[in-house]
């Protein structure tokens, strides 16, 4: 197989006496969707915060595109092309889609905002994801549905030339049709060559969209599987701790 886009080896993180990540290994590939599953408290959020540079890991090796890197702060992560879409999306409802997608990275000419250039780039980014659900890129976000908002947040990562996009529970709180929309979007993101890590509690979504599934259990990586080689019951077993890779029930 190719070089992984991101490869974590022996990652450790503790908060005081609590070891949250106990030396885990994890890989994700460009153009593939890797699902990260695990029960509450398994360490998913800590892993994501480490990858985004918000809470750097204590120990372990991170390789990005084969190169060893240090993710000491969010800036370094985003310079590498790692973008996180958090569950709350962090959109400004009073601004329109273009303004939100460019927030913090506006294009200016002679000190003034270049709306035309931004509108063009935002439209192109959304088109690359075959977005059809949005009426106008100048619509205010307040007028968008939950799925459409997720679209804007994901589109923003494309605009930033992300190589690795981490999605935190993108389908939580969405209806059936909108979940479908977002999962399609996730798939297209990967088809465009971007590495995608998706965190989800919804195993139906995971099996539909993911190429690989990695299961965290109490701070350890208990299984990293290709979706095609596993099934629903096994994954549930890994998540709840009744099953481990060696096959021994605990």
């Amino acid at each position: 197989m190719d070089t992984p886009l991101i490869e974590l080896t022996g990652i450790k993180k503790s908060f005081g006496p609590v070891d949250v990540l106990k030396g885990i290994d994890f890989t994700a590939y460009a153009g593939k969707v890797t699902a990260l599953v695990g029960d509450n408290g398994a360490g998913k959020s800590t892993l994501i915060k480490g990858l985004s540079g918000v809470q750097p890991f204590d120990d372990g090796v991170v390789r990005f595109d084969g190169q060893e890197v240090h993710l000491a702060n969010p800036k370094q992560a985003s310079n590498l092309g790692i973008e996180v879409v958090y569950q709350d999306l962090a959109l400004c409802e009073n601004l329109d889609i273009v303004q939100n997608m460019f927030l913090g990275r506006e294009e200016t000419t002679t000190g003034t905002l270049n709306e035309a250039a931004m509108e063009f780039a935002a439209t192109k980014a959304l088109q690359s994801l075959s977005v059809r659900t949005v009426k106008s890129v100048r619509q205010k976000v307040s007028s968008l549905s939950g799925g459409q908002r997720q679209t804007v947040a994901i589109g923003r990562t494309v605009l930033r030339n992300a190589k690795l996009v981490i999605l935190d529970e993108p389908t939580a709180a969405l209806g059936v049709a909108q979940t479908e929309q977002v999962l399609n979007l996730v798939r297209r993101l990967a088809d465009n060559g971007i590495g995608v890590i998706i965190i989800s509690h919804n195993l139906a979504d995971v099996f539909q969209v993911a190429d690989y599934i990695s299961v965290l259990y109490l701070g350890g990586m208990v299984a990293s599987l290709a979706t095609a080689d596993t099934n629903y019951n096994d994954v549930v077993g890994y998540i709840t701790g009744t099953k481990s890779l060696e096959g021994a029930a605990s």
Partner: protein, 411 residues
């Protein structure tokens, strides 16, 4: 890559654009529409009730009377956009004026330097308020209430009990009490239409260069023609002699171009600069702004500085109009300023509002004051009506916010 085409809101004929506008209004993005309607209704109402309302003299008076309120409302827009409030804006203006008068008259400082010192005092006040609000996170309501009380004391100390100072500087008095020569009014209009035309064409050329759809160019010309006709009528009326005595009074009041420049610069900053964009972003969702890398505290402090500085400008206009500075100046006007902004369509919840809204709102508040005064109703009625209009405007704000935010439930 597919060929899905995404609209930008610039496509289609004039008819499509008009239709799109009505759709936006229905979905809660009303902007200044309720206030403009109110303005027209009130004008019709008062002109039918009082023979003095539609006179040339009153027409000019209305602009002059509303100028200081309009500038104060413009000042408040900057903090209201953040969802904050500055209750001290009025007394900041008051202390700024007291400082001006004391420096100029007691210490003999040059008038221009005194004005600059007053403006600098405004910026400093805004900076301190901003520090409390942005860094220490004390609610702006409480901080500025504290300044509101404290600065009243400062005014008394600076001017003495019941102290009043006359402002004897002709240049200052002229701002509110003199008019431009007739030709200057027309030059003003030509410059305004010309600048609007250039900006409109500049925007179009940028869109065309980027390969984007542009609105029908006729829309730009219709808008400019509208502006030219309305402005032309106003200037034609203002250029006629409106005096009721022998000494002729004619021309556009000097304060009008001053207000126009403030509105123009303010609108430019809000719509076309990074600072403006970040102001709206922080007002809409501070956390999103922070994550996007915006220095939220800096934006907040800057907004309070602009607000307090512009408030001092409004105080200067007040001193110019009545020709004196008194120790109680600015106590009550701040609430009218907030009312004007909100009536005009600036949201108290932050993130929504423009300079023009403040202007329209100030005209509404002033027209109520002016009209009720001409009808000869007791002053009490004035307060009741103004209060009612404010509650009405705030209700429209809350409802339209509910409506445009409510679509999240629509899946």
């Amino acid at each position: 890559m597919s060929n899905t085409s995404l609209a930008t809101g610039h496509e289609g004929t004039i008819r499509d654009q008009v239709k799109a506008y009505f759709q936006r209004v229905r979905s809660g993005e009303m902007g200044a529409l309720p206030a403009v309607s109110a303005l027209i209704l009130l004008a019709i109402l008062f002109s039918s009730l009082s023979p003095f309302f539609l006179t040339k003299l009153n027409f000019a008076n209305l602009f002059v009377q509303s100028a200081e309120l309009a500038v104060l409302a413009c000042a408040l827009v900057f903090v209201l956009l953040l969802g904050e409030i500055d209750l001290a804006a009025g007394v900041t203006a008051g202390v700024g004026m007291a400082l001006f008068v004391v420096l100029n008259q007691k210490m003999g400082l040059d008038p221009l330097l005194s004005v600059i010192a007053a403006l600098a005092f405004g910026s400093l006040t805004g900076w301190i308020i901003g520090l409390f609000v942005a860094r220490i996170r004390v609610p702006s309501f409480v901080v500025t209430l504290g300044f509101f009380l404290g600065f009243q004391g400062l005014q008394l100390i600076m001017l003495g009990d019941g102290g009043i100072y006359r402002v004897d500087i002709p240049a200052i008095q002229a701002i509110m009490n003199s008019n431009m020569p007739e030709w200057a009014g027309w030059v003003l209009l030509v410059v305004m239409v010309g600048v609007s035309l250039l900006i409109g064409l500049w925007d179009r050329s940028r869109r065309t260069k980027a390969g984007l759809a542009t609105r029908p160019i006729a829309m730009l010309f219709i808008r400019l023609a509208f502006m030219a006709v309305l402005g032309g009528i106003a200037i034609a009326i203002l250029n006629q002699n409106r005096s009721v005595s022998i000494k002729a009074i004619a021309g556009v009041p000097i304060v009008i171009p001053i207000v126009i420049v403030i509105v123009f610069i303010g609108t430019f900053v809000l719509d076309r600069t990074l600072f403006g964009r970040y102001l709206y972003a922080v007002g809409g969702n501070p956390e999103a702004g922070r994550r996007a890398g915006i220095d939220v505290a800096k934006i907040r402090i800057a907004a309070f500085m602009i607000c307090s500085t512009l408030a001092v400008v409004s105080g200067l206009l007040h001193a110019s109009r009545i020709g004196s500075v008194e120790s109680t100046a600015g106590r009550t006007i701040v609430l009218n300023g907030v009312a004007a902004a909100v009536v005009g369509g600036v949201s108290l919840f932050g993130g929504r509002g423009r300079m023009m809204n403040a202007i329209v709102g100030a005209l509404v508040i002033s027209i109520i004051d002016n009209g009720l005064g001409l009808i000869g109703l007791p002053a009490g009625i004035n307060f009741l009506v103004t209060g009612g209009v404010l509650v009405g405007a705030a209700t429209i704000d809350a409802l339209s916010r509910k409506r445009s935010g409510g679509s999240i439930l629509r899946t």
